[in-house]
Amino acid sequence: MRVARLESEIDFDGWRVAARVLRTEGVSPEAVVWTVERDLFDQDLFPPPRGEGGGEADGWGTVQGVSTASPQDSSNPTRPLRGHPPHEGEGKILTVPAAFIDLAQTVILHRSPERLALLYRLLHRLERQPRLLDNPADADVAKARDMAKGVGRAIHKMHAFVRFRLVEDVTPETYVAWFEPAHRVTEAAAPFFARRFANMNWSILTPDACVHWDGSTLTMSPGADPADAPSQDAQEEMWRTYYASIFNPARLNPAMMKQEMPKRYWRNLPEAALIPDLIAKAQSRTETMVAAQPTKPSDRVLKAALKHARDGSFGESNLVNLEEVAAGIQVCRRCDLWRNATQGVPGAGPAKAALMIVGEQPGDQEDLQGIPFVGPAGQLLDRAMAEAGVPRDRVFVTNAVKHFKHEPRGKRRLHKTPDRGEVQACRWWLDAERRLVRPKVILALGATAVQAVFGKALPVGKTRGQRQALDGGEQGLVSWHPSFMLRIPDPEAKDRAYAELVEDLRQAWKLAG
């Protein structure tokens, strides 16, 4: 039996020196005991380890040791080897694949007591099987790989689960964390924190070792106690708030959470204290959510939405033909008029027309039939057009507002004039029709149509008969709405308005050429 003694649990250099000696001397893996006990023979101070690799108590006294303890440690009865590599000719030069060194440096950080013996066994086998590491199916290789994976995972989890706490009233800003890594990875994990938090002062305290960064250098110190770290940080309350809020109770999956965030880490995660309660309440929160009836949107929100719909840009629509406009109007929610209307009423007429006549909004008949100007006012317009010599089938007839605005009164529906917002919202459709039909002349009938076509209010009586250029390049004309004549009680005034409408129609048609 040989005893190989390391300076610490992660003393890779010591392991390498000892392994080189043992290997050179041809010591078989079964004949080596690896230990970091300082004084194996002083049983009062350090009882011999039991279990795996421990061997029989009386066996310990008889082994010849291999130690890596520093040469000046003269109290050690075993042969110091550090700094004394085998003399040339003492044995053949050992070469191992670089991959083995990488693997061994990682595996030694594992907490398993078997790791040192496993590494030596691999080293030993590498002599006869130089390509051993290239066989991932080999049991020893697989075991070492699993240990390395465990260590890699522990490093990764340390990068993830360290929670710094600000040390109050200290300048420069200083942060300290208490952490308990799954394996002895504190040193290995430290450079990451130096790269990430290069301009902070910080320390990470663990039971094995502590690491400190002062803005330029990483230093190590012996293991510490949780009490050495600050016990709280004001931001933790915010962090817990975030943690609780970002969790979706309808997707509860604690098994997955535990797989990725093992319970051993919870003790030092400020957010983990919330977990039991979040899990306990998830089911009922979800049930409440599902059972709850949708609520009616608040008036404030609806108003805001309506405002946006009205003020939204027009002229940007992707509509490419009148069929799409017609279909769009059917599903339009830009204002609320659709709710009580039967259907939206798009314009009617040839896809390209020189004259476009714009009325106010569909009436009762139009709302039912889905065609503009088919009710009493429409019939009056037909008559006026015939008198003016304007062929209806060559004119595009539409309305400023596409849905019928009304108020139920008994069995009738009373016409209500659309407000500015509704006109504004619906301009989106009128503009689309204007863009697609490309009329030379637009005749706006009545104040609402004027508002929609000219974008501003103009007095009909004063402006009728006057040509005005529109932004789209069309000629704009204004006239009376036929329904106005239907409502004038004075027959003389009625006839005069009608004559003026005919006159305006004639002028419009002439202008349209």
Binding site: D134, N135, P136, A137, A139, A142, H159, A160, R163, F164, E173, A177, F192, F193, A194, R195, R196, A198, N199, Q235, M238, W239, T241, Y242, Y243, A244, S245, I246, F247, N248, P249, A250, R251, L252, N253, P254, M256, M257, E260, M261, E271, L278, I279, Q283, T286, M289, V290, A292, P294, T295, K296, P297, S298, V301, L302, A304, A305, H308, N318, R333
Partner: protein
């Protein structure tokens, strides 16, 4: 209106962000804070700093700048007609929260999304201001993901790319028709155009620079998107076809699938039944097959059809192609092994490495792949052959995992 304290705002605006499945903080250009003035590093691989009880990782401070929104998308908790509590962060509040969380190692960086307020441009400008302040005022070198507002101007999207590591636009619904019905204000064509522009930006800005020429400012390295599963009638085949098109057309890094989940104050236009989470899981598996295993979308599931929820998509494919099995792990080529159920990409690499030295036994395969439970009926090893099991009638039943219980 009462002024909300920061904690309350954080609760509202992170709650509102939890339906976005995206969590990745990987794929950024490597950098650290050495030699700088601020904090932060990215090392290629992102780190999940915590896991929520829903099993999802928390790697970023994922919040909305505001959950006020002028849109009315039925599936969205923040739609204008919903009665959820509303809040809005200032730019400085988001910047400070990000830095405070980052310095305590809670997060990898920031994932900033927002409801659309006033206009797309206004909203996007505010989001860009956050990223710009983190990068320029605080020399923050951690990860930033910005959700693009599709209607925002191309110039703003390009500016977002200057400060963010990744940008994304959510397609949300797999079909343009459903988008029109459930999200009337969203414009599928507009989203596609914005993604196309971003692809060109990313490719242009990240192209290798010829020697001697000035290196352009660092730019986002990728974009991603999210599809909601189960809010409309789209079948898995349609969803994957859409993903395949998105990967191909816009070089997306990831498509996230988010099983439609009940939301508080849900819209009456939504289905009452939510899809099982396993459907989302199967979609992710199928997505992996397309990206890492050489499967064409059409091989996995036809448009108009759903994935088999009882077995994983690769097993389902193998069950449809039993004639191709069993495969001999000691002789089969890489492509064939990758198509074998139970053999992952890493396991296949190890098999290829190991068999240069040894003839693999079933135990060997178990050691390199972790388990042979699913692979066993489909493989031949030095000491194992499935015999008639590959064609056996009971094969499918033996591969079906125990039923995952639903919450509902």
């Amino acid at each position: 209106m009462a002024v909300l304290d920061l904690k309350r705002k954080l609760a509202i605006l992170s709650d509102a962000a939890k339906y976005d499945a995206s969590c990745a903080s990987s794929g950024a250009q490597k950098r650290d804070s050495l030699g700088g003035k601020g904090v932060g590093s990215t090392e290629g691989m992102g780190i999940c700093h915590a896991y929520a009880p829903d099993g999802r990782c928390i790697s970023l401070l994922k919040i909305l700048l505001t959950n006020f929104c002028i849109y009315d998308c039925a599936y969205c908790i923040n739609r204008v007609s919903s009665n959820v509590a509303r809040a809005r962060f200032t730019v400085k509040e988001v910047v400070d929260l990000t830095l405070n969380f980052y310095k305590r190692n809670y997060i990898e960086g920031l994932f900033l999304s927002s409801g659309v307020i006033r206009t797309g441009d206004y909203t996007m400008e505010e989001m860009v201001r956050v990223a710009k302040s983190l990068r320029l005022d605080h020399d923050f070198r951690g990860y930033i993901h910005l959700k693009l507002i599709p209607e925002a101007s191309p110039e703003l999207a390009a500016e977002a790319g200057l400060y963010a590591d990744r940008v994304s636009i959510n397609v949300e619904l797999p079909g343009d028709e459903s988008l029109a019905i459930l999200a009337p204000e969203k414009d599928a064509a507009g989203i596609k155009k914005a993604m196309g522009r971003m692809r060109l930006h990313i490719e242009d800005r990240n192209a290798p620079v010829k020697a001697g020429r000035a290196k352009p400012r660092k730019f986002a390295t990728g974009q991603s998107t999210q599809l909601i599963v189960g809010a409309d009638a789209a079948k898995d085949g349609d969803i994957l076809a859409r993903s395949a098109a998105l990967y191909g057309s816009y070089q997306l890094k990831r498509v996230y699938y988010s099983a439609f989940s009940p939301i508080p104050d849900g819209s009456a236009r939504l289905p009452v039944i939510r899809p099982p989470l396993v459907r989302e899981h199967r979609l992710y598996q199928a997505d992996w097959l397309m990206r890492f295993y050489g499967f064409g979308q059409g091989e996995i599931v036809a448009p108009g059809e759903d994935l088999d929820l009882t077995v994983d998509p690769k097993t389902a494919w193998a069950l449809r192609h039993r004639g191709d099995f069993p495969v001999d792990v000691n002789t089969a080529d890489r492509e064939t092994l990758l198509r074998t159920p139970g053999l992952g990409a890493r396991g296949v690499d190890r098999i290829l490495q190991a068999r240069a030295q040894t003839r693999l036994t079933l135990d060997d395969v178990k050691r390199v792949c972790g388990s042979v439970k699913r692979a066993k009926p489909f493989i031949v090893t030095a000491d194992w052959t499935p015999g008639a099991a590959t064609d056996g009638e009971g094969l499918r039943a033996s591969l079906v995992a125990p039923q995952q219980l639903s919450l509902f």
